[in-house]
């Protein structure tokens, strides 16, 4: 038997009923389209987030607060004094407040930081200057604002340096405007107002608890050891003995953050792939249905083929190739559509577009499997047909 010839025969018979062929393939097209698109977007997003995290440096530790162990300034000081190999630390609090200035009013993220923050996160200024360590110690009412905050409140041309902004019932002097940075894993700096952490805690929030402490370590190799030392120090300082709290208490490293992110995208694409899978299942049942119809329509033809010497295996192969041709064509169309829409969407979402080679291979394999699985029953029915009954069928 010549498979090329059977393939041509299969294509011809599919061509003979274009509309039906197209409708039959729809389920497969949608399923494969969804799978391809999901893979493109999640790959792009993962790579974008990964490069953001990596750009922060793999020698950054992120200590998150925990209800059982509220982080304080004293903790930050203890870390600074007792843990070796630390380059810089930064205490952070976060809140959101309505901010008004220049007759404009808007809600923004207010982040209290110390002077090291701008250095740790590679922030750059388009105007003015950062506040300094002394300003933080002094509880100064100074603010460094994101580019979007600046343009929202003061317009694009005006110079906000030295202007006052009202945060809650407190006024802050704008000392610096940041360059545009785009949103990233650390938030949306363009839409954030940075104030000294002391001022934020004492006058805006009225709290003694930090949200987090960032620790910059000398080399990436020291990160894991330092993370453990800090964890132990904090547990000791807060006299924690409850083993479940100890177990759940984590000091995040950039590396761990990366794996958390990829876990989240994995779960997300898992769910979406599940939905795509259902579409493929429905598509497969559609294929089976149409193949059963095709077999019935061609009973006489099958009888004739048997009369001229077709064996069961010949008939089986012919119909299997036909159903696989259906699903693979559907899969190809879905892949092409997925890549097309994926290109546009990655552009809109500003994530890098990566050609999903694995997804193309995966889709093709899945299409072939669906064609075989759902084509085998109709094909067997055709193959097992009694030649006389088939020839007599009206």
């Amino acid at each position: 038997m010549n498979y090329g010839e059977i393939l041509i025969t299969a294509l011809l018979s599919l061509k003979s009923n274009v509309l039906r062929t197209a409708l039959t393939m729809l389920g497969i097209i949608i399923g494969i389209f969804a799978v391809t698109l999901i893979l493109i977007i999640s790959q792009g997003a993962t790579s974008a987030i990964t490069s953001q995290i990596s750009s922060l440096g793999t020698n950054l530790l992120h200590i998150q607060t925990n209800k059982a162990i509220p982080l304080t300034f004293d903790d930050a000081n203890a870390i600074r004094q007792q843990i070796p190999n630390i380059v810089a630390t930064d205490e952070i609090v976060n809140t959101s407040k309505t901010v008004s200035a220049n007759g404009q009013s808007n809600a923004y993220q207010i982040t209290g930081v110390n002077a090291a923050f701008f250095n740790i996160y590679d922030m750059t200024l388009q105007k003015g200057s950062f506040f300094l360590s002394d300003d933080v110690i002094a509880n100064s009412t100074l603010a460094v604002i994101g580019s979007k905050v600046s343009s929202d409140l003061f317009g694009t041309d005006a110079n906000p340096i030295g202007q006052l902004i009202q945060v809650g019932n407190r006024s802050f002097y704008v000392v610096g405007v940041l360059n545009e940075k785009g949103s990233s894993i650390i938030g949306a700096p363009d839409q954030t107002i940075y104030v000294p952490v002391t001022t934020a805690m004492n006058t805006i929030l009225g709290t003694t608890t930090l949200n987090s402490i960032d620790v910059l370590v000398e080399t990436p190799e020291q990160v894991d050891l330092t993370a453990n030392q800090i964890k132990q120090l904090l547990l000791d300082r807060h006299n924690v003995v409850d083993p479940t709290i100890i177990k759940n208490y984590a000091v995040y490293t950039s590396k761990e953050l990366l794996s958390t992110v990829s876990n989240i995208t994995r779960i997300l694409s898992g769910v979406l792939t599940g939905i795509a899978g259902i579409s493929l299942l429905v598509g497969g049942i559609g294929i089976m249905n149409i193949m059963l119809v095709t077999v019935t329509e061609r009973i006489k033809e099958i009888g004739l083929l048997k009369a001229i010497g077709a064996k069961r295996s010949n008939i089986l192969t012919q119909f299997l190739i036909e159903s696989v041709t259906l699903t693979v064509s559907g899969g190809l169309i879905g892949t092409i559509l997925g890549i097309g829409v994926g290109t546009i969407l990655s552009h809109l979402l500003k994530v890098p577009f990566l050609l999903p080679i694995t997804s193309i291979v995966f889709s093709t394999v899945i299409s072939i499997i669906i064609g075989l699985v759902f084509g085998i029953y109709p094909a067997q029915r055709a193959a097992r047909m009694n030649p006389i009954e088939a020839l007599r069928y009206e």
Binding site: M1, N2, E5, T9, L12, S13, S16, K300, E301, L304, L305, K306, A307, I308, G309, A310, K311, R312, S313, N314, P387, I388, L391
Partner: protein, 240 residues
């Protein structure tokens, strides 16, 4: 007509029963028939008498309920599906009354198809198919789609296809049933030529003037052979 050699076909007490619900219907009630290499046999009989059933058994499309069928001295009664398919492919050529050609493909591909199942090398198929089409004077229609040719041409393509594997036996079940009289006689002269070249032909027909082309005429009634005679008055084909 009888040769000293063994018959090409030997039906021995062939019975075919069909079960419909609780009732069993005997379509063939014990057919005994020897056909020799080179014969041209016409089978006649009323509708429902068992002509097609007999031909299906001879053509390895069906197996008898009881009795023995020797083809080329081999008992094929207990052959498996795939063995029967091989017999149909290599030993037998069929021409039916209708639905002879595969739709959606060309005349040439139709003639080539048995060679695909018979594992004939790809490069040999087209020349051999063209040779057969030449034999039935249809080489100019080789590239036509099978539904774009006339009824008489369809039957000639079917004959070409039936001959392409060079079978020992050509079976035709009312091959002229759908044709006008002139075309029928043209087809019959083809069969006669083929027979003169040494091919064994068994033909089913209702019409005496069609049967008259054969050398031997068998009458079947109610599943039994009633007469089996040599035709002393063979119609001579008009010379082309």
């Amino acid at each position: 007509m009888k040769n000293k050699t063994a018959p090409l076909i030997s039906l021995q007490n062939i019975v075919k029963e069909y079960q419909t619900g609780d009732t069993v219907f005997q379509a063939l009630k014990g057919i005994n028939l020897d056909i020799y290499q080179g014969e041209f046999v016409a089978i006649m009989g009323p509708s429902g008498s068992g002509k097609s059933t007999t031909m299906h058994i001879i053509g390895a499309l069906d197996v008898p309920t009881s009795g023995t069928y020797l083809l080329n001295n081999t008992n094929v009664t207990r052959y498996t599906e795939d063995q029967l398919a091989e017999i149909r492919n290599k030993e037998i050529g069929f021409v039916f009354q209708s639905f002879n050609l595969l739709p959606r493909t060309t005349v040439l591909k139709n003639v080539e198809r048995p060679m695909m199942y018979g594992n004939v090398p790809v490069e040999d198929r087209e020349p051999r198919a063209m040779e057969m089409l030449k034999l039935v004077n249809l080489e100019d229609k080789a590239k036509s789609m099978s539904n774009h040719i006339s009824g008489g041409q369809i039957q000639r393509v079917a004959i070409a296809r039936a001959l392409v594997m060079n079978p020992s036996l050509l079976l035709a079940d009312e091959p002229t049933g759908n044709l006008d009289s002139a075309t029928s006689h043209q087809i019959m002269s083809f069969f006669q030529d083929l027979n003169k070249q040494g091919r064994t032909i068994i033909l089913i027909t209702h019409e005496p003037d069609i049967a008259a082309y054969a050398n031997r005429i068998i009458h079947i009634k109610d599943g039994l052979i009633v007469t089996d005679e040599i035709n002393h008055n063979v119609t001579k084909a008009i010379q082309k």
